[in-house]
Amino acid sequence: MSDLLKGNFDTAKPVVDNSEDGQTLEQRFEKEALKKLGGSIAFVAKQEVVWGDEDAEQDD
């Protein structure tokens, strides 16, 4: 149970948020790093990674 909806009556159904804050640790880290981006602060956006890149495999 959460308090995501706020109003002057009780809704028919509750809104249930099972995640701690709606973001994974990975998302939280990448968001915080993005705010300080520059110089030595660089990071891999894991959701953007293209796995199995053909060029990289050929180099191997």
């Binding site: 308090d3 995501l4 909806l5 706020k6 109003g7 002057n8 009556f9 809704t11 028919a12 159904k13 509750p14 809104v15 249930v16 948020d17 995640s19 709606g22 973001q23 993005l34 705010k35």
Partner: protein, 535 residues
């Protein structure tokens, strides 16, 4: 009575949520005052994503789902209305705020899920829509200030909604319906002043509506008297805003009693330590009131025990300070030392100044009514009063040139200004947008929606309206300006002059005023027509 769900869309996703949406908080209070059943889901505060939004949509059988925001919330609004329509086919989806007001027909086209748009101020329009919902009526064309769809799918704009004259008739915002303790108070900090930095329980209020000035880049959300309705060639009503040489303004402000009463209420209820005035320009109101408004607010602030104790006792501010510090917006030409001193005494910590530029020829073209000289004068007056002036700057004005760049760097050096300027951005509803719309849309492959989706808070470059510099040049020049790298800028100027065939000593510009050119062209056409008539 109608069951209404307000949704606050995400804005400035790159930053933490910092501001309770004042308009939605007022509209929620109005709806509750009128006896409706109200819930608020603050998507901007929670940022929980589509699954939670679907749950919210299914938490009850909503009669109305209402949302709104500024233009930069468009991307989030688009996602929300898609989900809301899928999950709640029975609900009336109502969109308002600057995003709709600035481009009503275009927005209704981009967002087919929206049933009714509220153009301009919603304080009277939304309650009238809710009355219709209660009555089971759908004749939105009879509710002033709306845009809706007829049975053929065509768009219908109703008569223009008059602005609310008695602002003090508004209830206090329904702050309780927003996650203050969970989200907003933890994000109270505003890095504009020492007091703002230490703020732990901040709320924002809006004490006035409108601004007397005609800055070319500014847009007033349809609440400043700048909005005009007129039929086009097809006799369809169109909504327009500032155009070159065609301005109108309405100045409205709450009484000092309402403002201080609201702050005292919030201080006692939420233990506030900081209030941010969201007003477009506090000084406009003060001048309009013949310099009585701010003085009276400050007097009542102190009389009601809101003056910060650090100021009362003449000690440095720290976490033990009681009372309410505050901030707002000022204007270089409209402020004066006496008012600034009174404001500081009442707890004002910083004032945002849109100085924009310290270049005389740029300042002349932006409609601000200020000059580099008044910028500097107000800068020192504000510092002397003990208030921090926040010297906002813009790069990429239509006539920005190398001379302006050097003049700005010289001023920053002299005044100790540390700044990363905004990029000149033509938001829909501004005069710049009216003037440069075609060029802007060209930069987005003819797709206006792409431009709207790309718009942010002007710290990132979007469409360029500079005649002299492209996006790459502006990005590089801004970086070099911040480092006071005169040498590299001068070297680039030589390269730029060769590219544009402009010799040393001549003004470094290819700017041609589009407004003057349009007038000149029209005069030539009239002259030609007159000549042909005489033959």
């Amino acid at each position: 009575m109608a069951k209404i769900l307000f949704i606050n869309p995400v804005v400035r996703e790159e930053d933490d949520p910092r501001h309770v949406p004042y308009g939605i908080a007022l509209l929620a209070a109005i709806a509750m005052r009128d006896g409706h059943q109200v819930q608020v889901y603050d998507e901007n505060a929670w940022r929980k994503g589509p699954e939670i939004l679907k749950q919210v949509c299914n938490a009850d059988r909503w009669d109305v789902i209402a949302l709104g925001g500024i233009t930069t919330a468009y991307g989030s609004i688009k996602n929300i209305v898609r989900i809301a329509r899928d999950e709640c086919p029975q609900a009336l989806i109502v969109l308002g705020g600057g995003v709709l007001t600035s481009l009503p027909r275009e927005m209704m086209g981009f967002l087919p899920q929206v049933d009714v748009g509220v153009i301009g101020e919603g304080f009277i329009t939304l309650p009238e829509i809710l009355q219709k919902v209660d009555a089971g009526e759908h004749d939105w064309e009879n509710v002033d200030g709306t845009i809706s769809r007829n049975s053929d799918g065509g768009l219908v704009i109703s008569a223009q909604r008059a602005l609310l004259e008695d602002l003090d008739s508004l209830p206090y915002p329904a702050w309780d319906l927003f996650p203050l303790e969970e989200v907003y108070f933890p994000n109270s900090q505003v890095l504009f002043s020492e007091e703002g930095m230490l703020a732990k329980r901040r709320l924002d209020i809006n004490a006035s509506y409108g601004c007397s000035l005609v800055c070319r880049y500014c847009y007033h959300l349809g609440i400043a008297g700048d909005m005009k309705y007129a039929p086009d060639a097809n006799n369809e009503l169109q909504v327009s805003f500032d155009e070159p040489g065609n301005y109108s303004r309405s100045i409205r402000y709450h009484s000092p009693e309402y403002i201080v009463g609201l702050v005292k209420h919030a201080y006692e209820k939420y233990n506030l330590d900081f209030v941010g005035f969201l007003d477009e320009n506090l000084m406009t109101m003060d001048q309009y009131s013949k310099r009585t408004w701010l003085k009276e607010i400050c007097r009542l602030w102190k009389e009601n025990g809101l003056q910060p104790t650090c100021i009362r006792d003449g000690v440095e501010h720290d976490e033990h300070c009681r009372g309410v510090h505050w901030s707002g917006t000022s204007h270089a030409t409209l402020c004066n030392p006496e008012t600034l001193k009174i404001m500081r005494e009442a707890g004002c910590s910083h004032l945002i100044y849109g100085y924009e530029s310290f270049s005389p020829h740029v300042m002349k073209t932006i409609g601000k009514g200020a000059t580099p000289k008044t910028n500097m004068r107000s800068f020192f007056w504000t510092l002397e009063s003990g208030i921090r002036p926040i010297p906002n700057q813009i790069i990429g004005f239509p006539n920005e040139d190398f001379q302006a760049i050097y003049e700005n760097m010289d001023a920053w050096k002299k005044l100790g200004i540390v700044v990363k300027p905004f990029f000149a951005t033509a938001y829909p509803g501004s005069e710049w947008f009216t003037t440069y719309r075609n060029w802007i849309v060209e930069q987005y492959d003819g797709d206006l929606e792409k431009y709207i989706q790309d718009l942010g808070d002007a710290t990132r470059i979007t469409a360029v309206i500079s005649h002299n510099f492209n996006a790459v040049e502006l990005l590089g020049l801004r970086e070099l300006m911040m480092n006071f790298d005169y040498k590299r800028i001068e070297e680039y100027e030589q390269y730029w002059r060769r590219n544009h065939n402009i010799p040393d000593g001549a003004p470094s510009t290819i700017f041609q005023d589009p407004v003057k050119n349009k007038a000149k062209k029209a005069a030539n056409i009239r002259l030609a027509a007159g000549n042909s008539g005489s033959h």
